[in-house]
Symmetry: C2
Subunit: 226 residues, 2 copies
DNA sequence: TCTATTATGTGATAAATGTCACATTCTCCC
DNA sequence: GGGAGAATGTGACATTTATCACATAATAGA
């Protein structure tokens, strides 16, 4: 746990950039930065939601227990608030957040954060925008994932990682096969087989955890056709 | 189009109840009520999002074009804001809203609504709460729907209609078979078959559009086990 | 009322995916 | 470096669901 310096922080959220310097001072007094290692749980489904979690740096999976096992709902890259809906929406967390790589989280007192919403309209509006954009993205992904078959779903998340997360065609997979299957709601074996198939067809190459997209256009086609 | 009387309106949203009387006056001047018949499109995917839509009474489906056809994302019952995320999140609507029964919608000027957020913290907070609760519910449903098989998915939405929408075991189905299949992401034929099966087993009874849940415990069991 | 159109029910079959079993490989820790 | 446990690859088979084809029923207009 470190004493953060919110005023000087270069990784402020768009909302926090709209806070006055006295508000930032308040934030600083009601905020604690904690560093998580890969695999650490940041907050857990079923436990009390007592703080706002702000992902200052790192990568996190949001996941929830489903009828047949874990379901990964989304990956969150920094900078981003992690569980606004589960913190405001209910007293108890409805889902968990787990670090996929070493990550820095600032926990902000709920009362302080709420106070900013009440007293700083720009801050509130920025939070609303973030919530809205997230929902739009979620709906789009939900629709795609529910209508595409396995090859399309897998292609989509590989492309998503390449485009949204890493901005390159060659990257280290942040999820293992099991997690990939939790993400696209299928079995571990099916993911394994499909990745082999993509490899055989020269669409991707996998070396340990490192994935290279060789034929992006093919992957796009597979993703689109479902 | 009617001239609404927001100040006297008995169907105010939780957020609107927090507006001052002068704010309500402003709302009244920047708001128009329009009545939609069953099947009418309230706003359409791809068109400009220019107003906030508040569902004062009625029932609406939120739906989006997916890779293989229409996907119903959720049913919205009154009272509720309809497309906050698609209105704030982007200039263009990412999904459509269509009336399932005759519905009264108040369209509110976006600028006016935004002004309330900026100037009335309680209002903003209430909007944030609504967005957060929606996301929680969506995540839960998304997880369930992606992990359950067809019988479980169908059982779930029937129970949902019974519990959340109508609060009775006997109700008129608001969706036809095709829409049901768009909702649970399967084929029309599969829904038809599964409803027949539920009927044969005495779990439900269907008479035209009227559905009666006869063995709620059985339906719960089917929904839970996936 | 009649008819065209749309919605629904159902069998036969194909396709996709899950499940089980087991071999192999990787990784972490001593 | 070696071994235990976890992660991954892959074949065989079972299960689920989609698809096609067509019959029947409901509904909206003329």
């Amino acid at each position: 746990m470190a004493n953060p310096q919110c005023r000087l922080c270069g990784l402020k959220s768009p909302a926090a950039k709209l806070l006055s310097s006295s508000e930032l001072e308040t934030l600083e007094l009601n905020c604690a930065q904690i560093n998580f290692k890969k695999g650490d749980v940041i907050f857990r489904e079923g436990s009390l939601a007592t703080n706002i979690a702000y992902l200052k740096s790192g990568l996190v999976k949001i996941h929830m227990k489903g009828p047949t096992g874990d379901k990964i709902l989304r990956l969150m890259k920094a900078p981003s608030y992690l569980g606004l809906p589960t913190t405001f929406g209910d007293k108890v967390n409805h889902y968990s957040a787990t670090a996929l790589i070493d990550s820095h989280i600032c926990f902000i007192s709920l009362d302080t954060f709420r106070d900013f919403i009440f007293k700083n309209g720009s801050f509130a509006y920025e939070i609303i925008l973030e919530l809205c954009r997230n929902e739009l993205a979620d709906y789009q992904k939900y629709t795609n994932m529910s209508q595409k078959q396995l090859p399309g779903r897998l292609a989509e998340i590989l492309l998503c990682m390449s485009h949204e997360l890493y901005k390159t065609n060659k990257f280290e997979l942040p999820l293992n096969i099991n997690e990939l299957s939790d993400f696209i709601s299928t079995s571990r074996e099916s993911v394994s087989r499909m990745l082999s198939e993509f490899s055989k067809e020269g669409i991707i190459a996998i070396n340990k955890k490192e994935l290279t997209i060789l034929k992006e256009d093919m992957l796009e086609k597979i993703s689109l056709k479902g």
